[in-house]
Every structure is written in C-alpha cells, then in structure tokens.
Amino acid sequence: MFDGFRQIYSEIPYILSGVGVTLSYAVIAVIFGFWSGTLLAVIKISNSCILRSFGSFYTSIFRGTPLLLQLFIIYFAIPQILGIGISAFMAGIVAFSLNSAAYVSEIIRAGIGSVDRGQYEVAKVLGCSRLQIMGDIIFPQAIRNVLPSLVNETIDLLKESALVSIIGEADLLRRANIVASEHYLYLEPLLVAGACYYTLVMILGIFAKLIEKKLSC
C-alpha cells in the first residue's frame, strides 16, 4: 500500500486541489439553500393557503426524488427545453441549493415551532411588528434550537457534492478517480479523497460546536 502511495505521491496535490472545488459547491449551496429554505419555512407557516400549498408541494418534489435525478434534469433536460447550455458548476449549485432548501425549510419550520408561542404573543402585546418578532425573537431561537440538524444538513451537502463528479466536474472524488485510472490504483487515491472529506466534516463539526457554545445561554 505504501508503495501505492509512493506511486501517486506527485498526484496528491492534484487531488487536494479538488477540496476547493468541493468546498465551493458546498459553501455556495449552503448559503443559497439556507436562505431559500428560510423563505420556504416562512411560506409554510404563512396565513395564505396557496403559499402553504406551494411550500408543501415544493418540499414533496425535492424530497421525493433522488438528488442525482434532480441534477440530471437541471444539467441535461433543462438545456433541452430552453435550448441554452448550462455549466456543470451552475447545474450543481442550482440542484444542491434547491434540494437543500426543501430539507432546510422543514428543519427551520420545526425550529420556529419549538419556540414558546407565549414569547410571540408577549412581543405582540408589547407592540412589536410581526417582522420584528420573527427577526429578533423567534428566528434566532429557532436557529439555536435546530443548529445540530442544520449542521447535519451541511455535512450531507458537503458529501453529496461528490455527485457532480458524474457530470464531469473535477471535484475531490473525480480527481481521485482520474488519478486512480491513470495509475490503475484505486485504494490509495480514494483513501486520500476520503481523508479529505473526513477532515472537512470534522472541521465543520468543530465550528458547529463553537457556534453552539456561543449561542447557548
């Protein structure tokens, strides 16, 4: 095995540079997924029946079909309908963000539900607007309550980003595969990629713990 590592030693920086690609997918999709998921959560608890139905329908579609299928539809089928090409990067970001939004919206909806309704009512009696109550009182507590679930979702997203390797994006996994097929050695490059994913997830876990500690009161 050590001999195998020696053989691919010069290729390791190439595999490691995939970390940036993987991270760029994860970070951008987490940001878009979080904000669109939040918007979707607000839609789901709105007074409008139409908006609520839209929210439920959206979630059912994105939770009810495989992420890989969604990625294929965005990368292959949308250009077929619209007649315009879409880059693998863009397709990945759009698919991951839309998919993540569905899951995040459910997490945040549960978080909002976990905050004592009495606080909402007190703030209302004090004269605060609905926006102030949601923004200052309910939302920060909701996020604090569901932080572990949001971290799980981020970890999932980071790992699922490996799916873009299927549509040709040179992420961590794809680079490991390229090196593997060049050297006819599979274990070593895949172990390097695995170690990278694992390290990223561990670092994310440490960050999450720090944030959780900061938010706890």
Binding site: D116, G118, Q119, E121, V122, A123, K124, V125, L126, G127, C128, Q132, D136, I137, P140, Q141, R144, L215, C217
Partner: protein
C-alpha cells in the same frame, strides 16, 4: 379606568364568554377567579388583542379600544421571557423597537426598573439562570417600562413557592399604589385574597359574582361562589 360592556366570545360552537360587564377603577386590583375553562384567560387575550372573535365594548379611560396593544400590559403565565436575551435586553427590547429609544436610553430605563425590583445584579443574566420569582419580576419590569394604562397578570403566582409569592404580591401592591388599574386572572385563591380589592367570580363564561374582596371571601352572595370557595380555598 377599564370598563368592559357586554363582552361575549364564541369560538366555533363554544360560547366562552357570555355578555360580561365590569369595571376596574384606578388603584384597584381586580382578580378574576373561577374554575378551569371558565373563560378567565380569554378575557385577558381579548383585552390584549390576541383574540379577535368577540363582541362588546372595551373602554379605557372612556376611550373605546379595539386592539389592546397600546393600552394594556400583559405579564403572561410562565413569564415567556425572551430566552436568548439577558434580563436587561428583555426589558429594553420593546423600548428600542417600539418606542424607538436609543439603545443607551432604553438600557438605562430598563436597568432602573430592574433595580426597583431588586435585580440590579442580574442585568446581564439570561432567563435560564434566573429563579422563578426573578423571572416573574423581569416579566413585570418588561411590561411596565412600556407604561401601559392597564396592567394584566395571567396566573402570576403559578408554580412559585410561598415566599416568592409574597414578593410578587408586594410588587403588585406597589404598582397599584401608583394608581394603575390591575386585573389579575388566577386560580390561586389565597393569593387573590391577599392582593385583591375587588373580585369577579366567573362561572361558565358568565359573571356569577362581582363584589369587594373582603365581602367576597367572608360572605359570598351567590351559592355558586360559596360552593367554589369551600371547594378550593386553603387557609392562608
């Protein structure tokens, strides 16, 4: 002065309140007592604007009100402090956001009010580190800084030990001495007896008795009130 005329509330098929009328005068501490489901809390919810399904008139100092937010201050059951804010932020929040006071001014007013309740050393404490009585006092301070015209308490002594209950009663009496009408909903009859100047006994959404506290507890007029007292009151 708070004046309620023919207040009725029907939610679905349930008639919660049945044409009730009463007054709370300045400096009066009125307690509404009654069994579970008598409609006590619904009265507070209507006054605060949290329940809109009602008919009847609510007048504060002669002005008819529809939405209570500007007139009524509510100290809810269980306090409902904002758990991610410190005590001083709980009290100053509405001053900043609703009255638009600058942060420093809101903070100073909040600190001053918390000090009045003996909480000067708890300004930066989070609700999770406060005792039940301290939470209740922060909740009272949070309400009174907004200078409501009528003060409402929903079960202020539920789940508090006797010593803390005594402190809260003293706090309520001190507030009443400023002349603000106070309305308390409670099932804690010993507390009601110690604090009230005026008692309303509510039974199945109707006022069964409305009288002075002394008279109510020593010689209730209605048979229903007499039975309720004999079943519920503990020696205090």
């Amino acid at each position: 002065m708070l004046e309620i005329n023919k207040l009725s509330c029907k939610i679905g098929e349930d008639r919660i309140l049945n044409s009730i009328s009463f007054k709370v005068l300045p400096g009066e501490i009125c307690t509404i007592i009654g069994g579970s489901g008598a409609g006590k809390t619904t009265i507070l919810r209507i006054l605060c604007g949290l329940e809109q399904r009602f008919t009847g008139d609510i007048l504060v100092n002669g002005d008819r009100v529809r939405k209570g937010a500007n007139y009524f201050g509510l100290v809810p059951q269980g306090c409902s402090l904002f758990s991610h804010f410190t005590a001083v932020d709980n009290v100053s929040y509405a001053l900043r956001k609703v009255k638009k006071y600058p942060k420093a001014r809101a903070h100073a007013i909040a600190a001053e009010n918390l000090a009045k309740f003996g909480l000067l050393d708890k300004l930066t404490s989070y609700p999770s580190s406060l005792s039940g009585g301290q939470k209740q006092r922060v909740a009272i301070a949070r309400t009174i800084v907004m200078e409501p015209k009528i003060l409402l308490f929903d079960e202020p002594t539920s789940a508090l030990d006797p010593e803390v209950t005594r402190d809260i009663i003293e706090a309520i009496k001190t507030l009443s001495a400023t002349g603000i009408p106070i309305l308390i909903v409670t099932h804690d009859l010993p507390m009601a007896r110690r604090v009230a100047t005026h008692v309303i006994y509510l039974d199945s959404g109707s006022i069964a008795e409305d009288s002075g506290a002394e008279e109510f507890f020593s010689n209730p007029r209605s048979e229903r009130a007499r039975r309720f007292l004999s079943e519920n009151i503990q020696p205090c």
